[in-house]
């Protein structure tokens, strides 16, 4: 048997023996077991996970052909984050601006707060999108980088400017272009987000915390500092603090920023990496100083006068949460009507007064002043020029880079 040609004679004999009559012989049972294993192997090979796109930067909208049922079905399905829309003071199940939208347009809004986390939500609806199916949603709110992922994969519908009169007229100039969506062809900002430094005066003993280097290095804050689990926020702020440009940086810059944070983690300076849950601990004083989202701080400050925020002199990170119409959505025109509605300064002001995040709508300041003068003058809601100038957007990353960066960051935050 030439099968065993390369083997020494006794070994080859032994092999032959064992294969023909010994334990490895093809008995019926063995054959069945082997073919079972083979079949399982073949079936395993048959599996595989479809990619999110062709890999190329393809913004040609595959979804454009989706049929619009807006005229026939007067409804729109809207997915949003919790506490991200105005609710009635007395009855929290009533949302005044949405109700007004329904009255004005006759379009019924099915509103669900089912987004808690960009990546989790993405994981949830990805199978449907990848299979080219309708997700059952017409409008969703995603952070800009996640919206970018949708656009690159061809999972966002191109907007029709004819339906977006208010958006075209009232969007603040600085929002009109974005790295992830050049010319805002697919997305419309819902709110602007800024990442700032916040601290609890009581815990720091009245000391001002003014920079990320202080967060990472001030030994009086040891074990009392939290950073954010969002890679872009934590690394972006560190990059800015190191004097780097977070809109354009190299792998080495990224590694250097991670090393700086790693040092603080190793020395026990950093207590935790948090999502939105830093708010309670900051209010209690368990966290002395942290990276925080401006909208949260406005709300915290309303209840607790010890909470202070600082815009670092070297700049802060700035992002948007965008409204986006997913591929195969049934009611594009209705969703666009809703976008348009929230770009009426009056409605925008009402929304901003409740959610306390930056309003991207020009003219919202004047309307907001009518509701609450102090909110209109809060730079965290209506940024002044200095605040606008200090904001930087994190570099738009392609999937491979994002994955590599997230991997390194995940190791840093301990998982």
């Amino acid at each position: 048997m030439d099968l065993f040609a390369g083997l020494p004679e006794p070994l080859a004999r032994a092999w032959e023996r064992s294969l023909t009559s010994g334990r490895a012989a093809h008995t019926r049972r063995r054959f069945l077991a082997a073919s079972g294993a083979l079949a399982a192997g073949a079936a395993l090979t048959g599996c595989g996970i479809a990619g999110s796109g062709d890999g190329e930067k393809d913004t040609g909208d595959k979804a454009a052909a989706a049929k619009d049922y807006s005229a026939k079905e007067k409804k729109v399905v809207f997915s949003n984050w919790p506490l991200y829309i105005d609710v009635d003071d007395k009855d929290e199940n009533r949302r005044p601006t949405l109700e007004r939208f329904q009255q004005q347009t006759g379009i019924e809004v099915k509103y669900t707060e089912d987004i808690n986390d960009n990546v989790e939500f993405f994981g949830k609806i990805k199978p449907q999108l990848a299979a080219g199916q309708d997700t059952g949603r017409d409008l969703m709110i995603l952070t800009d980088w996640m919206a970018g992922r949708f656009i690159r994969a061809g999972w966002a519908q191109r907007l029709n400017p004819a339906n977006l009169g208010n958006v075209v007229t009232n969007m603040e100039a600085r929002f009109r272009n974005a790295a992830h969506d050049p010319g805002r062809q697919f997305t419309v900002p819902w709110t602007g987000l800024s990442t700032v430094i916040a601290y609890n005066k009581k815990t720091t003993g009245g000391k001002k915390i003014e920079s990320v280097s202080q967060l990472l290095g001030d030994s009086s804050l040891k074990g009392k500092v939290s950073l954010l689990t969002e890679m872009r926020d934590t690394v972006g702020m560190t990059l800015l603090d190191m004097g780097k440009d977070c809109t354009k940086f190299t792998d080495d810059d990224y590694d250097a920023a991670l090393a700086a944070v790693q040092k603080a983690v190793d020395s026990g300076q950093i207590r935790r990496f948090t999502g939105n849950d830093y708010t309670e601990e900051l209010a209690k004083g368990d966290i002395g100083a942290c990276l925080a989202w401006a909208g949260d701080i406005v709300q915290l400050q309303a209840d607790n006068e010890d909470i202070e925020f600082v815009i670092p002199a070297k700049g802060y990170l700035y992002a948007t949460d965008d409204m986006l119409i997913p591929a195969k959505a049934r009611h594009q025109a209705n969703a666009e009507a809703l976008m348009n509605f929230y770009y009426d300064p009056k409605n925008a002001a009402e929304l901003a007064a409740w959610v306390n995040y930056i309003s991207p709508v020009a003219g919202a300041k004047e309307e907001l002043a009518r509701i609450d003068e102090s909110l209109a003058n809060d730079p965290l809601i209506i940024p002044d020029q200095a605040m606008i100038d200090g904001g930087h957007v994190f570099m738009d990353l392609d999937e491979a880079k994002a994955s590599a960066y997230e991997d390194k960051f995940a190791k840093l935050i301990g998982a």
């Binding site: 048959g46 990619g51 999110s52 950093i270 601990e281 491979a400 301990g414 998982a415």
Partner: protein
Amino acid sequence: MTAVAAPAPDVPPPARRRGLTPYWLLLPAVLWLAVFFVAPLFYQASTSVQSGSIEKGFEVTWSWSNYTDALGEHGWHFVRSFAYAATATALCLAIAYPLAYLIAFRAGRWRNLLLVAVIAPFFTSFLIRTLAWKTILSDSGPLVSALNSLHFLDVTGALGLTTGDRVLATPLAVVCGLTYNFLPFMILPLYTSLERINPALLEAARDLYATPATTFRKVTFPLSLPGVVAGTLLTFIPASGDYINAQLLGSPGEQMVGNAIQKQFLNVQDYPTAAAMSFVLMAAILIIVTVYLRKAGTEEVV
């Protein structure tokens, strides 16, 4: 002709139907397992040997290196998870045994009330119960201040269980959270097996001049062993895969393998490595449990 045909019903069709009945009864369970256990397991197995990227998609390339990556890069997460889970299980046993014993033998008319007290925390969600610990263990809260003035934190600090004057965001907090959350899973099986012990056996031991300690060692404990085994399994297995406690009560230094798998799936989007990690976790638990059951030498688990 009919006379010849008549005996035919002797081959009884009802018997055949009876023969199939068990299978019909099995059907729901089999379907359930097929859809919610076998299929996901199979899919996961396939994912764990794929390679590719989120953009281009993943294909089965039999890349076993996912497994070495999972072990190489996250080995510590596995070790930490099993160490925390084992500590929590030991603590649970130490706390639960006396309590289960009390409820089974000494509680009298309070028995039902005590059982309700054990089960009642389940009426609140797991997440809320864990979040409550954040308030209880808050740095400036009364508990931590008391522990601090008793110099308890100096002791745990020396053991490496806590850092500074705090309990939150330390290994101690994570282990306490795990212990608290899984305690009922220990108490209930212990209680059922203790409660089944025939009091006559204990009397017999006393009649034969055994001291209470000997009675416990020779009679009560061996008879409660099935409960001990079931309780430790019900505590250890979910505790080693848990990620909520480490997420909410731990710091970057206390993240467990559950956290690592979650991050790998959702943030890094490296599905193959994440699937491989899940498989390694399952295999490791299976091995630990098998060895444990062999050592514990009990065939019957409750």
